[in-house]
Protein backbone atom coordinates (compact mmCIF):
# COMPACT_ATOMS: atom_id res chain seq x y z
CA UNK A 1 0.00 0.00 0.00
CA UNK A 2 2.69 2.46 0.99
CA UNK A 3 5.58 0.93 -0.89
CA UNK A 4 8.49 3.34 -0.85
CA UNK A 5 7.16 5.52 1.94
CA UNK A 6 9.46 4.09 4.59
CA UNK A 7 12.44 4.70 2.35
CA UNK A 8 11.19 8.16 1.55
CA UNK A 9 10.91 9.04 5.23
CA UNK A 10 14.38 7.70 5.96
CA UNK A 11 15.81 9.78 3.17
CA UNK A 12 13.78 12.78 4.19
CA UNK A 13 15.58 12.95 7.48
CA UNK A 14 18.95 12.17 5.92
CA UNK A 15 18.78 14.43 2.88
CA UNK A 16 16.26 17.08 3.82
CA UNK A 17 15.06 19.05 0.85
CA UNK A 18 16.54 16.71 -1.75
CA UNK A 19 14.32 13.81 -0.71
CA UNK A 20 11.30 14.93 -2.71
CA UNK A 21 13.14 14.46 -5.98
CA UNK A 22 15.03 11.28 -5.09
CA UNK A 23 12.08 9.17 -3.91
CA UNK A 24 9.06 10.53 -5.74
CA UNK A 25 6.81 7.57 -6.63
CA UNK A 26 3.93 7.68 -9.03
CA UNK A 27 1.68 4.73 -9.78
CA UNK A 28 -0.61 4.12 -12.75
CA UNK A 29 -3.96 3.31 -11.10
CA UNK A 30 -5.83 3.09 -14.43
CA UNK A 31 -4.73 3.46 -18.03
CA UNK A 32 -3.06 6.86 -18.31
CA UNK A 33 -4.11 7.89 -14.77
CA UNK A 34 -1.23 8.30 -12.35
CA UNK A 35 -1.23 8.95 -8.61
CA UNK A 36 1.47 9.98 -6.16
CA UNK A 37 0.49 9.13 -2.59
CA UNK A 38 1.56 11.71 -0.03
CA UNK A 39 3.02 10.82 3.35
CA UNK A 40 1.09 10.55 6.59
CA UNK A 41 3.17 13.01 8.57
CA UNK A 42 2.18 16.07 10.60
CA UNK A 43 1.95 19.52 9.05
CA UNK A 44 5.12 20.64 10.80
CA UNK A 45 7.14 17.43 10.39
CA UNK A 46 9.94 16.82 7.90
CA UNK A 47 8.29 15.86 4.63
CA UNK A 48 5.25 18.03 5.38
CA UNK A 49 5.47 19.44 1.85
CA UNK A 50 4.65 16.01 0.44
CA UNK A 51 1.57 14.91 2.39
CA UNK A 52 -1.11 15.30 -0.27
CA UNK A 53 -2.01 12.85 -3.02
CA UNK A 54 -1.18 14.27 -6.43
CA UNK A 55 -2.13 12.99 -9.86
CA UNK A 56 -1.87 13.40 -13.59
CA UNK A 57 -4.02 12.18 -16.46
CA UNK A 58 -2.80 11.56 -20.00
CA UNK A 59 -5.00 12.33 -23.00
CA UNK A 60 -4.14 11.93 -26.66
CA UNK A 61 -3.37 15.64 -26.96
CA UNK A 62 -2.10 16.75 -23.56
CA UNK A 63 -1.81 16.15 -19.82
CA UNK A 64 -3.83 17.42 -16.85
CA UNK A 65 -2.20 17.67 -13.43
CA UNK A 66 -4.36 17.37 -10.33
CA UNK A 67 -2.77 19.17 -7.38
CA UNK A 68 0.92 19.98 -7.23
CA UNK A 69 2.11 19.46 -3.65
CA UNK A 70 3.12 21.57 -0.69
CA UNK A 71 6.30 23.10 -2.07
CA UNK A 72 7.78 24.25 -5.32
CA UNK A 73 10.27 21.39 -5.04
CA UNK A 74 7.48 18.83 -4.68
CA UNK A 75 5.86 20.39 -7.75
CA UNK A 76 9.14 19.98 -9.62
CA UNK A 77 9.41 16.35 -8.53
CA UNK A 78 5.93 15.75 -9.90
CA UNK A 79 6.80 17.57 -13.12
CA UNK A 80 9.91 15.38 -13.53
CA UNK A 81 7.86 12.25 -12.85
CA UNK A 82 5.37 13.27 -15.54
CA UNK A 83 8.23 13.77 -18.01
CA UNK A 84 9.28 10.14 -17.47
CA UNK A 85 5.86 8.97 -18.68
CA UNK A 86 4.98 11.30 -21.54
CA UNK A 87 6.31 13.94 -23.90
CA UNK A 88 2.85 15.51 -24.24
CA UNK A 89 2.43 19.10 -23.10
CA UNK A 90 0.75 19.93 -19.79
CA UNK A 91 -2.38 21.85 -20.70
CA UNK A 92 -4.16 21.99 -17.33
CA UNK A 93 -3.14 22.22 -13.69
CA UNK A 94 -6.23 21.62 -11.56
CA UNK A 95 -6.29 22.47 -7.85
CA UNK A 96 -8.84 20.66 -5.71
CA UNK A 97 -8.84 23.43 -3.05
CA UNK A 98 -6.81 26.20 -1.46
CA UNK A 99 -4.70 24.31 1.07
CA UNK A 100 -0.96 24.80 0.95
CA UNK A 101 -0.15 21.10 0.53
CA UNK A 102 -2.10 21.02 -2.74
CA UNK A 103 -1.23 24.33 -4.42
CA UNK A 104 2.29 25.46 -3.61
CA UNK A 105 3.82 23.28 -6.33
CA UNK A 106 1.89 25.19 -9.03
CA UNK A 107 4.92 27.42 -9.61
CA UNK A 108 6.88 24.45 -10.93
CA UNK A 109 4.45 24.26 -13.86
CA UNK A 110 4.40 27.93 -14.78
CA UNK A 111 6.91 27.53 -17.64
CA UNK A 112 4.70 24.86 -19.23
CA UNK A 113 2.05 27.58 -19.62
CA UNK A 114 -0.94 25.43 -18.67
CA UNK A 115 -4.34 26.76 -17.73
CA UNK A 116 -4.65 26.79 -13.94
CA UNK A 117 -8.11 25.54 -13.02
CA UNK A 118 -10.05 25.75 -9.76
CA UNK A 119 -13.38 26.31 -8.06
CA UNK A 120 -14.76 29.79 -8.83
CA UNK A 121 -14.04 30.61 -5.18
CA UNK A 122 -10.40 29.50 -5.31
CA UNK A 123 -8.92 32.80 -6.51
CA UNK A 124 -10.37 34.61 -3.51
CA UNK A 125 -9.31 31.86 -1.13
CA UNK A 126 -5.74 32.01 -2.42
CA UNK A 127 -5.73 35.78 -2.16
CA UNK A 128 -6.73 35.49 1.51
CA UNK A 129 -3.97 32.96 2.13
CA UNK A 130 -0.96 34.44 0.31
CA UNK A 131 0.54 36.21 3.27
CA UNK A 132 -0.03 33.26 5.57
CA UNK A 133 1.69 30.85 3.17
CA UNK A 134 4.72 33.10 2.74
CA UNK A 135 5.08 33.75 6.46
CA UNK A 136 4.54 30.18 7.64
CA UNK A 137 6.01 28.07 4.84
CA UNK A 138 8.93 30.16 3.52
CA UNK A 139 11.18 27.10 3.06
CA UNK A 140 8.66 25.56 0.68
CA UNK A 141 9.07 28.33 -1.89
CA UNK A 142 12.06 29.04 -4.10
CA UNK A 143 14.25 31.37 -2.05
CA UNK A 144 13.48 34.11 -1.39
CA UNK A 145 9.87 33.19 -0.61
CA UNK A 146 7.45 35.57 -2.29
CA UNK A 147 3.70 35.74 -2.76
CA UNK A 148 4.01 35.86 -6.57
CA UNK A 149 5.10 32.21 -6.50
CA UNK A 150 1.57 31.27 -5.39
CA UNK A 151 -0.40 30.78 -8.57
CA UNK A 152 -4.16 31.03 -8.48
CA UNK A 153 -6.61 29.88 -11.16
CA UNK A 154 -7.13 31.60 -14.51
CA UNK A 155 -9.90 29.14 -15.43
CA UNK A 156 -12.73 28.62 -12.97
CA UNK A 157 -15.57 26.23 -12.32
CA UNK A 158 -18.82 27.58 -10.88
CA UNK A 159 -20.72 24.28 -10.92
CA UNK A 160 -19.38 21.77 -13.49
CA UNK A 161 -16.94 21.94 -16.36
CA UNK A 162 -15.35 19.50 -18.79
CA UNK A 163 -11.70 19.57 -19.81
CA UNK A 164 -10.77 17.95 -23.11
CA UNK A 165 -7.39 16.22 -23.13
CA UNK A 166 -7.85 14.77 -26.62
CA UNK A 167 -9.82 11.52 -26.70
CA UNK A 168 -10.44 11.85 -22.99
CA UNK A 169 -12.57 14.23 -20.98
CA UNK A 170 -12.24 15.24 -17.34
CA UNK A 171 -15.42 16.16 -15.48
CA UNK A 172 -14.89 18.82 -12.84
CA UNK A 173 -17.41 19.64 -10.16
CA UNK A 174 -17.27 22.60 -7.79
CA UNK A 175 -18.75 22.11 -4.32
CA UNK A 176 -20.35 24.52 -1.89
CA UNK A 177 -18.46 25.01 1.38
CA UNK A 178 -17.39 21.57 2.64
CA UNK A 179 -13.78 20.66 3.57
CA UNK A 180 -12.92 24.26 2.60
CA UNK A 181 -14.81 26.95 0.70
CA UNK A 182 -13.02 26.07 -2.56
CA UNK A 183 -13.44 22.31 -3.07
CA UNK A 184 -13.41 20.73 -6.53
CA UNK A 185 -13.60 17.07 -7.55
CA UNK A 186 -12.26 15.61 -10.79
CA UNK A 187 -13.60 12.51 -12.50
CA UNK A 188 -12.04 10.58 -15.39
CA UNK A 189 -15.17 8.76 -16.58
CA UNK A 190 -13.57 6.55 -19.23
CA UNK A 191 -11.04 5.26 -16.68
CA UNK A 192 -13.53 5.02 -13.81
CA UNK A 193 -11.38 7.19 -11.53
CA UNK A 194 -12.59 9.90 -9.15
CA UNK A 195 -10.13 12.37 -7.63
CA UNK A 196 -12.02 13.50 -4.55
CA UNK A 197 -9.41 15.97 -3.32
CA UNK A 198 -9.67 16.58 0.41
CA UNK A 199 -13.39 15.85 0.31
CA UNK A 200 -12.06 12.40 1.16
CA UNK A 201 -9.52 11.59 3.85
CA UNK A 202 -8.54 7.95 4.35
CA UNK A 203 -6.33 6.90 7.27
CA UNK A 204 -5.65 10.51 8.26
CA UNK A 205 -8.00 12.47 10.46
CA UNK A 206 -10.09 14.83 8.32
CA UNK A 207 -9.37 18.54 8.76
CA UNK A 208 -12.30 20.93 8.62
CA UNK A 209 -11.95 24.48 7.32
CA UNK A 210 -15.35 24.83 5.68
CA UNK A 211 -18.68 23.45 6.81
CA UNK A 212 -19.31 20.09 8.47
CA UNK A 213 -22.88 20.03 7.19
CA UNK A 214 -21.75 20.99 3.70
CA UNK A 215 -19.06 18.31 3.80
CA UNK A 216 -21.58 15.61 4.72
CA UNK A 217 -23.77 16.69 1.80
CA UNK A 218 -20.77 16.51 -0.55
CA UNK A 219 -19.84 13.05 0.76
CA UNK A 220 -23.35 11.76 0.19
CA UNK A 221 -23.28 13.01 -3.39
CA UNK A 222 -19.75 11.74 -4.11
CA UNK A 223 -20.41 8.31 -2.62
CA UNK A 224 -22.91 7.72 -5.45
CA UNK A 225 -20.09 7.92 -8.01
CA UNK A 226 -19.89 5.41 -10.81
CA UNK A 227 -16.12 5.39 -10.53
CA UNK A 228 -14.37 2.15 -9.62
CA UNK A 229 -11.36 3.86 -8.11
CA UNK A 230 -11.40 6.78 -5.70
CA UNK A 231 -8.28 8.86 -5.04
CA UNK A 232 -8.55 10.64 -1.69
CA UNK A 233 -6.72 13.87 -0.95
CA UNK A 234 -4.83 11.97 1.75
CA UNK A 235 -4.39 8.24 2.24
CA UNK A 236 -4.33 5.16 0.06
CA UNK A 237 -6.21 4.94 -3.23
CA UNK A 238 -9.48 3.06 -2.73
CA UNK A 239 -10.90 0.43 -5.06
CA UNK A 240 -14.10 0.25 -3.04
CA UNK A 241 -15.89 3.53 -3.70
CA UNK A 242 -19.09 2.30 -2.03
CA UNK A 243 -17.38 2.19 1.37
CA UNK A 244 -14.47 4.59 0.93
CA UNK A 245 -16.36 7.55 2.38
CA UNK A 246 -17.92 5.70 5.31
CA UNK A 247 -15.27 6.29 8.01
CA UNK A 248 -15.00 10.00 7.21
CA UNK A 249 -18.79 10.30 7.22
CA UNK A 250 -18.98 8.58 10.60
CA UNK A 251 -16.34 10.94 12.02
CA UNK A 252 -18.03 14.11 10.80
CA UNK A 253 -21.42 12.91 12.02
CA UNK A 254 -19.88 12.18 15.43
CA UNK A 255 -18.58 15.75 15.56
CA UNK A 256 -21.93 17.23 14.59
CA UNK A 257 -23.89 15.07 17.04
CA UNK A 258 -21.39 15.64 19.84
CA UNK A 259 -21.23 19.40 19.36
CA UNK A 260 -25.02 19.75 19.14
CA UNK A 261 -25.27 17.97 22.48
CA UNK A 262 -22.65 20.22 24.08
CA UNK A 263 -24.39 23.35 22.79
CA UNK A 264 -27.79 22.13 23.99
CA UNK A 265 -26.33 21.57 27.45
CA UNK A 266 -24.88 25.08 27.55
CA UNK A 267 -21.29 23.80 27.49
CA UNK A 268 -18.68 26.25 26.23
CA UNK A 269 -16.47 25.67 23.21
CA UNK A 270 -13.39 24.65 25.20
CA UNK A 271 -15.33 21.88 26.94
CA UNK A 272 -16.54 20.68 23.56
CA UNK A 273 -13.01 20.50 22.14
CA UNK A 274 -12.08 18.15 24.97
CA UNK A 275 -15.20 15.95 24.89
CA UNK A 276 -16.31 15.66 21.30
CA UNK A 277 -14.97 13.08 18.86
CA UNK A 278 -13.04 11.08 21.44
CA UNK A 279 -14.77 7.84 20.37
CA UNK A 280 -12.90 8.26 17.06
CA UNK A 281 -9.49 8.87 18.62
CA UNK A 282 -8.07 5.37 18.18
CA UNK A 283 -9.33 5.14 14.60
CA UNK A 284 -7.41 7.99 12.98
CA UNK A 285 -3.69 8.73 12.59
CA UNK A 286 -2.73 12.28 13.66
CA UNK A 287 -6.03 12.60 15.55
CA UNK A 288 -4.90 15.00 18.25
CA UNK A 289 -3.47 17.58 15.87
CA UNK A 290 -6.75 18.17 14.10
CA UNK A 291 -9.69 17.02 16.20
CA UNK A 292 -9.81 19.97 18.60
CA UNK A 293 -9.60 22.36 15.65
CA UNK A 294 -12.42 20.52 13.90
CA UNK A 295 -14.61 20.62 16.99
CA UNK A 296 -13.98 24.33 17.38
CA UNK A 297 -15.06 24.93 13.79
CA UNK A 298 -18.14 22.72 14.08
CA UNK A 299 -19.15 24.48 17.30
CA UNK A 300 -18.93 27.88 15.63
CA UNK A 301 -20.95 26.58 12.70
CA UNK A 302 -23.70 24.96 14.75
CA UNK A 303 -24.13 27.50 17.53
CA UNK A 304 -25.90 29.76 15.01
CA UNK A 305 -28.27 27.11 13.69
Amino acid sequence: MHRGVGLALALASACGAASATTTFDVREVAKGVFVHEGRTVALDAPGHDDIANLGFVLGARCVAVIDTGGSVRTGRALRDAIAQHTKLPICYVVNTHVHVDHVLGNAAFRNAKPKFVGNATLAAAIESSRRYFVEHYPDDFDAPASADQIIGPDTTVASTRELDLGGRTLQLRAWPKAHTDSDLSVEVPDAGVLFAGDLLFIDRVPALDGSAKGWLAAIDALARTNAKIVVPGHGPVSHEPATAFAPERRYLQALIDGVRKEIAEGKPIDDATVHVGQSEKALWPLFDTANAHNVSRVYQELEWE
Binding site: A124, A147, D270
Partner: protein, 294 residues
Amino acid sequence: MDIAERAAYVRDDVRREQRGPLMPRSKRHAIHLAAALAFATADGIAADAPPASGGAWQMLRTHFYGNREFGEVDEAFMHVEAPNATPDPSATPVSLRFGKDAIGKVRQVRVIIDNNPSPVVATLDVGAGQPIAEIDFRVRVDRATNVRAIAETTDGKLEMRSAWVRAEGGCSAPPTSSGEGKTGDVRFRPGDDGKSLQVGIRHPNYSGFQIDPKTGDPIPPHYVSQVTLMSAGKPLLAIESGISISENPTFRIVSEQPIATPVTLEASDSKDAHFSATWNGGASKSVAAAGGMR
Protein backbone atom coordinates in the same frame (compact mmCIF):
# COMPACT_ATOMS: atom_id res chain seq x y z
CA MET B 1 6.21 56.43 5.76
CA ASP B 2 8.27 56.16 8.90
CA ILE B 3 6.97 54.07 11.72
CA ALA B 4 5.26 56.91 13.59
CA GLU B 5 3.41 57.97 10.47
CA ARG B 6 2.43 54.41 9.79
CA ALA B 7 1.30 54.06 13.37
CA ALA B 8 -0.90 57.12 13.03
CA TYR B 9 -2.22 55.77 9.75
CA VAL B 10 -3.19 52.48 11.29
CA ARG B 11 -4.53 54.21 14.38
CA ASP B 12 -6.92 56.18 12.22
CA ASP B 13 -8.20 52.92 10.80
CA VAL B 14 -8.61 51.27 14.13
CA ARG B 15 -10.03 54.23 16.00
CA ARG B 16 -12.15 55.95 13.40
CA GLU B 17 -13.07 52.96 11.24
CA GLN B 18 -12.87 54.91 8.02
CA ARG B 19 -10.93 52.68 5.70
CA GLY B 20 -8.47 49.81 5.67
CA PRO B 21 -4.73 50.32 5.83
CA LEU B 22 -4.29 50.44 2.07
CA MET B 23 -0.60 49.82 1.95
CA PRO B 24 1.33 47.57 -0.36
CA ARG B 25 1.39 43.94 0.66
CA SER B 26 5.12 44.04 1.15
CA LYS B 27 4.72 46.54 3.95
CA ARG B 28 2.01 44.72 5.83
CA HIS B 29 4.42 42.91 8.08
CA ALA B 30 5.12 46.27 9.65
CA ILE B 31 1.51 46.80 10.60
CA HIS B 32 1.54 44.58 13.63
CA LEU B 33 4.32 46.48 15.29
CA ALA B 34 2.88 49.77 14.14
CA ALA B 35 -0.56 48.94 15.39
CA ALA B 36 0.76 47.87 18.75
CA LEU B 37 2.41 51.23 19.00
CA ALA B 38 -0.65 52.95 17.60
CA PHE B 39 -2.84 51.61 20.32
CA ALA B 40 -0.68 53.20 22.93
CA THR B 41 -0.31 56.48 21.06
CA ALA B 42 -4.05 56.74 20.61
CA ASP B 43 -4.35 56.80 24.36
CA GLY B 44 -1.74 59.45 24.83
CA ILE B 45 1.66 57.78 25.02
CA ALA B 46 4.36 59.50 22.96
CA ALA B 47 4.21 58.38 19.35
CA ASP B 48 7.97 58.06 19.03
CA ALA B 49 8.45 55.83 22.07
CA PRO B 50 9.98 52.53 20.98
CA PRO B 51 7.84 49.47 21.67
CA ALA B 52 9.05 47.41 24.61
CA SER B 53 10.62 44.10 23.78
CA GLY B 54 8.35 41.12 24.37
CA GLY B 55 5.25 43.00 23.31
CA ALA B 56 3.28 46.00 24.45
CA TRP B 57 2.85 45.02 28.07
CA GLN B 58 5.34 47.36 29.73
CA MET B 59 3.91 50.34 27.91
CA LEU B 60 0.35 49.36 28.67
CA ARG B 61 1.14 48.64 32.28
CA THR B 62 2.51 52.13 32.73
CA HIS B 63 -0.37 53.62 30.83
CA PHE B 64 -3.16 51.90 32.71
CA TYR B 65 -1.65 51.29 36.12
CA GLY B 66 1.31 53.66 36.58
CA ASN B 67 3.58 52.44 39.34
CA ARG B 68 0.95 50.45 41.20
CA GLU B 69 1.98 47.04 42.47
CA PHE B 70 0.50 43.74 41.40
CA GLY B 71 -0.19 40.60 43.32
CA GLU B 72 1.05 37.78 41.11
CA VAL B 73 1.28 34.72 43.30
CA ASP B 74 -2.06 33.37 44.33
CA GLU B 75 -3.56 31.22 41.58
CA ALA B 76 -6.44 30.49 43.93
CA PHE B 77 -7.58 34.10 43.66
CA MET B 78 -7.87 34.15 39.89
CA HIS B 79 -6.83 31.75 37.18
CA VAL B 80 -6.48 32.37 33.46
CA GLU B 81 -7.13 29.27 31.41
CA ALA B 82 -6.25 29.09 27.72
CA PRO B 83 -4.89 26.27 25.58
CA ASN B 84 -1.10 26.13 25.51
CA ALA B 85 -1.28 25.32 21.80
CA THR B 86 -4.54 26.70 20.52
CA PRO B 87 -6.56 24.45 18.24
CA ASP B 88 -8.05 27.49 16.55
CA PRO B 89 -5.98 30.70 16.56
CA SER B 90 -8.91 32.84 15.40
CA ALA B 91 -11.18 31.49 18.15
CA THR B 92 -8.99 30.63 21.12
CA PRO B 93 -11.03 30.01 24.26
CA VAL B 94 -10.03 31.97 27.35
CA SER B 95 -11.56 31.42 30.79
CA LEU B 96 -11.14 33.69 33.78
CA ARG B 97 -11.87 31.71 36.93
CA PHE B 98 -12.29 33.45 40.25
CA GLY B 99 -11.59 31.82 43.59
CA LYS B 100 -13.51 32.15 46.85
CA ASP B 101 -11.63 35.28 47.87
CA ALA B 102 -12.26 36.97 44.54
CA ILE B 103 -15.93 36.28 43.95
CA GLY B 104 -17.97 39.41 44.56
CA LYS B 105 -14.79 41.41 45.21
CA VAL B 106 -13.50 41.99 41.69
CA ARG B 107 -14.58 45.30 40.22
CA GLN B 108 -12.86 45.14 36.87
CA VAL B 109 -10.74 42.79 34.78
CA ARG B 110 -8.65 43.95 31.85
CA VAL B 111 -7.43 41.32 29.39
CA ILE B 112 -4.27 41.91 27.39
CA ILE B 113 -2.62 39.79 24.71
CA ASP B 114 0.94 41.10 24.66
CA ASN B 115 1.87 40.19 21.11
CA ASN B 116 -1.37 40.96 19.31
CA PRO B 117 -1.52 43.97 16.99
CA SER B 118 -4.13 45.50 19.27
CA PRO B 119 -3.15 44.10 22.66
CA VAL B 120 -6.07 45.26 24.82
CA VAL B 121 -8.67 42.56 24.29
CA ALA B 122 -11.36 43.78 26.62
CA THR B 123 -12.10 45.60 29.82
CA LEU B 124 -14.76 43.83 31.85
CA ASP B 125 -16.61 45.69 34.59
CA VAL B 126 -18.30 43.30 37.00
CA GLY B 127 -21.62 44.47 38.46
CA ALA B 128 -21.39 45.35 42.16
CA GLY B 129 -22.03 42.31 44.34
CA GLN B 130 -22.50 39.92 41.42
CA PRO B 131 -21.05 36.57 42.53
CA ILE B 132 -19.39 35.80 39.20
CA ALA B 133 -17.11 32.76 39.37
CA GLU B 134 -16.07 32.56 35.74
CA ILE B 135 -16.06 34.61 32.54
CA ASP B 136 -15.30 32.93 29.21
CA PHE B 137 -14.77 34.39 25.76
CA ARG B 138 -12.89 33.67 22.52
CA VAL B 139 -9.97 35.63 21.18
CA ARG B 140 -7.77 35.94 18.15
CA VAL B 141 -4.14 35.12 18.88
CA ASP B 142 -1.68 36.26 16.26
CA ARG B 143 1.51 34.60 17.54
CA ALA B 144 2.96 33.06 20.68
CA THR B 145 2.12 35.35 23.58
CA ASN B 146 1.14 35.88 27.15
CA VAL B 147 -2.58 36.31 27.68
CA ARG B 148 -2.90 38.44 30.82
CA ALA B 149 -5.78 39.26 33.05
CA ILE B 150 -5.43 42.10 35.55
CA ALA B 151 -8.15 42.20 38.17
CA GLU B 152 -8.85 45.29 40.22
CA THR B 153 -10.62 44.54 43.46
CA THR B 154 -13.30 46.62 45.13
CA ASP B 155 -10.70 47.71 47.68
CA GLY B 156 -8.30 48.91 44.99
CA LYS B 157 -5.78 46.06 44.81
CA LEU B 158 -4.44 44.70 41.54
CA GLU B 159 -4.00 41.00 40.86
CA MET B 160 -2.47 39.73 37.65
CA ARG B 161 -2.41 36.23 36.17
CA SER B 162 -1.42 35.05 32.74
CA ALA B 163 -1.34 32.06 30.42
CA TRP B 164 1.06 31.34 27.59
CA VAL B 165 -0.54 30.51 24.26
CA ARG B 166 1.17 29.33 21.08
CA ALA B 167 -0.68 30.29 17.90
CA GLU B 168 -0.15 31.53 14.39
CA GLY B 169 -2.18 33.94 12.34
CA GLY B 170 -5.34 34.35 14.42
CA CYS B 171 -5.82 38.02 13.56
CA SER B 172 -5.49 37.60 9.81
CA ALA B 173 -7.38 34.29 9.45
CA PRO B 174 -10.19 34.64 6.90
CA PRO B 175 -13.71 35.09 8.25
CA THR B 176 -15.49 31.77 8.69
CA SER B 177 -18.95 33.25 8.10
CA SER B 178 -20.26 29.87 9.16
CA GLY B 179 -23.77 29.18 10.31
CA GLU B 180 -26.93 31.09 9.64
CA GLY B 181 -28.21 34.48 10.70
CA LYS B 182 -27.22 38.08 10.25
CA THR B 183 -25.30 40.80 12.02
CA GLY B 184 -26.93 41.73 15.29
CA ASP B 185 -28.68 38.45 15.98
CA VAL B 186 -28.23 37.50 19.64
CA ARG B 187 -28.28 34.05 21.24
CA PHE B 188 -28.77 33.38 24.94
CA ARG B 189 -27.77 29.89 26.06
CA PRO B 190 -28.33 29.12 29.74
CA GLY B 191 -26.75 26.17 31.50
CA ASP B 192 -29.01 23.55 33.03
CA ASP B 193 -28.65 24.88 36.58
CA GLY B 194 -29.45 28.50 35.68
CA LYS B 195 -26.06 29.59 37.03
CA SER B 196 -24.38 29.97 33.67
CA LEU B 197 -25.35 31.94 30.61
CA GLN B 198 -23.62 32.22 27.25
CA VAL B 199 -24.42 35.24 25.13
CA GLY B 200 -23.39 35.45 21.48
CA ILE B 201 -23.72 38.35 19.07
CA ARG B 202 -23.62 37.60 15.35
CA HIS B 203 -21.03 40.03 14.02
CA PRO B 204 -18.01 39.70 11.69
CA ASN B 205 -15.81 41.54 14.17
CA TYR B 206 -13.34 42.28 11.38
CA SER B 207 -9.89 42.70 12.85
CA GLY B 208 -8.48 44.99 10.17
CA PHE B 209 -5.87 42.32 9.41
CA GLN B 210 -8.04 40.01 7.33
CA ILE B 211 -7.65 40.25 3.58
CA ASP B 212 -10.49 41.18 1.26
CA PRO B 213 -10.10 38.53 -1.44
CA LYS B 214 -11.59 40.83 -4.06
CA THR B 215 -8.94 43.52 -3.68
CA GLY B 216 -6.07 41.84 -1.83
CA ASP B 217 -6.20 44.66 0.70
CA PRO B 218 -7.17 44.43 4.37
CA ILE B 219 -10.86 44.49 5.28
CA PRO B 220 -11.35 47.60 7.45
CA PRO B 221 -11.84 46.86 11.14
CA HIS B 222 -15.46 46.60 12.25
CA TYR B 223 -16.02 45.22 15.70
CA VAL B 224 -18.34 45.08 18.68
CA SER B 225 -17.03 47.78 21.01
CA GLN B 226 -19.47 47.76 23.95
CA VAL B 227 -21.63 45.09 25.51
CA THR B 228 -23.71 45.73 28.62
CA LEU B 229 -25.54 42.92 30.38
CA MET B 230 -28.13 43.66 33.05
CA SER B 231 -29.65 41.02 35.32
CA ALA B 232 -33.08 41.85 36.81
CA GLY B 233 -32.31 45.53 36.41
CA LYS B 234 -28.86 45.40 38.01
CA PRO B 235 -25.52 45.60 36.18
CA LEU B 236 -24.15 42.11 35.58
CA LEU B 237 -21.19 42.70 33.28
CA ALA B 238 -20.14 45.60 31.07
CA ILE B 239 -17.59 44.86 28.38
CA GLU B 240 -15.49 47.24 26.33
CA SER B 241 -13.95 45.18 23.55
CA GLY B 242 -11.79 45.40 20.45
CA ILE B 243 -10.52 43.52 17.43
CA SER B 244 -8.90 40.69 19.38
CA ILE B 245 -12.32 39.28 20.22
CA SER B 246 -13.27 36.55 17.75
CA GLU B 247 -15.91 36.67 15.03
CA ASN B 248 -19.42 36.45 16.54
CA PRO B 249 -18.37 37.74 19.99
CA THR B 250 -19.44 35.28 22.64
CA PHE B 251 -19.25 35.69 26.39
CA ARG B 252 -20.17 33.17 29.04
CA ILE B 253 -20.77 33.95 32.68
CA VAL B 254 -20.84 31.42 35.48
CA SER B 255 -22.30 32.68 38.74
CA GLU B 256 -22.37 31.25 42.24
CA GLN B 257 -26.11 31.82 42.23
CA PRO B 258 -28.82 31.47 39.60
CA ILE B 259 -28.64 34.43 37.23
CA ALA B 260 -31.70 36.59 37.88
CA THR B 261 -33.91 37.34 34.90
CA PRO B 262 -34.69 39.18 32.76
CA VAL B 263 -31.21 39.50 31.33
CA THR B 264 -30.91 42.35 28.86
CA LEU B 265 -28.12 42.93 26.41
CA GLU B 266 -27.26 46.29 24.92
CA ALA B 267 -24.36 46.38 22.48
CA SER B 268 -22.83 48.75 20.00
CA ASP B 269 -20.13 48.40 17.39
CA SER B 270 -17.35 50.53 15.97
CA LYS B 271 -19.65 51.83 13.22
CA ASP B 272 -22.14 52.91 15.89
CA ALA B 273 -24.71 50.23 15.15
CA HIS B 274 -26.73 49.26 18.21
CA PHE B 275 -28.11 45.88 19.16
CA SER B 276 -30.34 44.86 22.01
CA ALA B 277 -32.00 41.69 23.22
CA THR B 278 -33.73 40.31 26.31
CA TRP B 279 -33.84 36.84 27.82
CA ASN B 280 -36.66 36.16 30.25
CA GLY B 281 -35.40 32.80 31.46
CA GLY B 282 -36.21 29.32 30.26
CA ALA B 283 -34.53 27.55 27.38
CA SER B 284 -32.10 28.97 24.84
CA LYS B 285 -33.39 32.01 23.09
CA SER B 286 -32.51 33.49 19.76
CA VAL B 287 -33.24 37.17 19.19
CA ALA B 288 -33.13 38.39 15.60
CA ALA B 289 -31.36 41.63 14.85
CA ALA B 290 -33.78 44.51 15.21
CA GLY B 291 -33.85 48.26 15.65
CA GLY B 292 -31.00 50.70 15.88
CA MET B 293 -28.96 49.25 13.03
CA ARG B 294 -27.68 51.58 10.39
